[in-house]
Amino acid sequence: MALSPLATGAVTLPVEARKLRQEVRDFLAEERAAGTILGRPDSWLTGWDPAFTRRLAERGWVGMALPQEYGGGGRGNLERYVVIEELLAAGAPVSAHWVADRQAGPSILRHGTEHQREFYLPRIAAGECFFSIGMSEQNSGSDLASVQTRAERTAGGWRLTGTKMWTGGAHINDYAIVLARTEDSEDRHAGLSQFIVDLRAPRIRVEPIRLLTGEHTFNYFHLEGVEVGDDALLGRPGDGWRQVTGELALERSGPERFLSTLPLLTALVGQLQRAACSPEQHGRVGRLTARLASIRQLSLGVAAALEAGRPADVQAALVKDLGTRFEGELVGEVREVLPVAARFDATRGTYPELLAAAILHSPGYTLRGGTNEILRGIITRGLELNS
């Protein structure tokens, strides 16, 4: 039974999860001392550090919800939740394995062939194999079913032609999961399929799209007649839409949807601890803290529901809208609490520089993962079906 949007239920994390949280915090304290964690906003998007990823993998914290027979940790999604929320809250550089851990791994486990599982999953869990997502295109943002990239049958497999956009990390990752049209159909949700494409294959051209900060994470990713074998197909031909949308709840409700700017608030609290703090400043910090804690509970509720196999698409959309709006509000509020001119050219990791990074990243929070205005339609539709 689907959850009521207004009652996700409280989640009490198991005792093992508490122990795990402490282990992660101990690890993070060591890393912080070693200077590998700068506590930056949006570290899951821009904090690319394969060496850090491998140290996480040594502790079993990459692909930790994948089964042990494929090299994973065989642990529950709630335990994975604890690990990733700790990493994000600290602003740790997790973008290298982010997509592999969150999407590619679970997707290959669910839809992949035995050969694909054996080939990719142990490498993902070892922190040695990084993925990009090849879904969006120039004319297919929120309206994903309108993808133009095509895959045509060849003698030994498929030929992919088209241009993907917003493909994060395509210039540094190993593979991309590409959504392509394999068949024309009256039903626009039919005839789509997913492929695992080697980003170093011939006839692939990656072209950077720079963010407002000048950072290079996104790309155009041109598939100019890329030949792939039969074994590149992920799942069944024509099932692409179902496979993609089946993972959206997980993608939209995770801690990365409300913690992207938390390091900035942490930095602010650090500044306030060193100064006399007014009741007004206390109040604003308290307002943000209450909202953060409440959104986290909603997000945990979705994670617990998904773990129990209950659909939670509406709740996930709701968490995404609330959480990503909060990420932006936080930046505005922090400016009010401690008015400091944002400076992107200030020393990296200082308060004015973190503020600048958060401001320059802020338009993205409510866009990525499904534009919030579109998600609100999912929420109201879900309500009407429920009532």
Binding site: Q22, C277, T289, Q297, L383
Partner: protein, 375 residues
């Protein structure tokens, strides 16, 4: 004994007392038969005792060892139904405080009040040293004078739990019979009783007095905050229900309001804000199981619930159009209550400052995140 759970039995009683539910057959709008009357605006003195009778008759009155999670759910339901009785005050505040202070817990509707009062020992120990507050007593029997203002449901309650400063410094918990106080009727924005209690040299026997630790005063505060948050969570849910029913049935320009994008955008935010309160209250409720862990989550719930009221009421009224702004619609029963409840027992600014002080003060380093995760 019915096979329904206590919650289901009690919820049925609250539904029957819900004057906003037009389909309820037991709804007695005139209140002449002594049942529920017109709720808070009508006969609140009678409505609380009659609700208690109905709960007892349905074997639905929670006992002292009822699971706190069930109590919170019930209080949410009371908020949703605009129940005209001090269920929140009795179940989530008065009873637990009395039990913690090892005072007897009366069976009927209770309320809670706190504030400075003139408290003197009834049996003065003539051998004791006379301090700034007077002589000591041979026992804890006291005589109390003063005024307690804005006491919820005082006129419908059997007894009042009073937290005040004792005669020899340190807080004291008193259990007063409602009949011992003069009552001056007052109401909140929703017409719920918020009465003044005037105490003129009221004698309280020692067995109804307890000196309590400062922690109990704090507990009284966060319990009251959680109780208000649970009520607001219920009223917020009602706002969502009424708004969705309205926008999906009201046709303008040839289609239901809910088909307009502009309406969808606002309605989604309404749902989100209500869900946020529900989650915060849920977390605070879960924390009740662990002694000592409940305070911060209760502050969070109180702060978030109070802070979300403005947006919820704004959107619910805007989407209802003019009808929601009149007595023709039951929406006001939820929104006027929320507007009152957010200010009672604190108000979001007080809760937010309390949270902020804890976050900023807590011994250097990053305490924000550990406070949020509760570990």
């Amino acid at each position: 004994m019915s096979t329904q759970s206590l919650f289901e039995r009690a919820a049925a009683v609250l539904a029957a007392a819900d004057e906003t539910d037009a389909t309820s057959e037991t709804n007695k709008a005139d209140g002449t038969d002594g049942t529920f009357g017109t709720g808070a605006l009508g006969r609140p003195a009678a409505s609380a005792p009659s609700l208690w009778r109905a709960l007892r008759a349905a074997d639905a009155l929670p006992s002292l060892d009822t699971d706190p999670a069930v109590l919170v759910d019930l209080v949410c339901e009371a908020g949703r139904r605009a129940t005209p009785a001090p269920l929140a005050e009795t179940l989530l505040v008065a009873r637990p405080l009395l039990a913690a202070a090892q005072l007897p817990v009366p069976d009927g509707p209770l309320t809670v009040a706190s504030g400075p009062l003139d408290v003197r020992f009834a049996h003065v120990d003539t051998g004791s040293r006379v301090g700034p507050l007077g002589a000591g007593g041979t026992d804890d029997a006291v005589r109390v004078s003063g005024t307690l203002s804005r006491v919820p449901w005082a006129r419908g309650a059997d007894a009042v739990v009073v937290l005040t400063e004792g005669p020899s410094s340190g807080p004291m918990l008193l259990l007063l019979d409602a009949g011992q106080c003069r009552q001056v009727a007052g109401t909140n924005l929703a017409g719920e009783p918020r009465d003044e209690l005037v105490l003129i040299d009221v004698a309280v026997p020692a067995e109804r007095v307890r000196r309590v630790p400062a922690a109990l005063v704090e507990e009284a505060r966060w319990r009251a905050g959680l109780a208000r948050a649970a009520l607001i969570a219920g009223a917020a849910r009602r706002c969502v229900e009424l708004t969705v029913a309205h926008t999906s049935s009201r046709v303008q320009f040839g289609r239901p309001l809910s088909h307009f994008q502009a309406v969808k955008q606002e309605e989604a935010k309404l749902v989100e804000e209500a869900a946020l309160i529900g989650a915060a209250v849920g977390a605070a409720t879960a924390a009740l199981a662990e002694p000592g862990a409940a305070e911060f989550p209760a502050w969070i719930a109180a702060a978030q619930a109070s802070a979300s009221v403005a947006e919820i009421a704004r959107i619910a009224h805007q989407l209802h159009g003019a009808i929601g702004f009149t007595e023709l619609s039951p929406l006001r029963l939820a929104t006027t209550r929320m507007w009152s409840w957010r200010d009672e027992d604190g108000g979001e600014h007080a809760w937010q400052r309390r949270i902020g002080r804890r976050v900023v003060a807590a011994g250097g380093g990053d305490r924000l995140w550990p406070l949020v995760t509760g570990s």
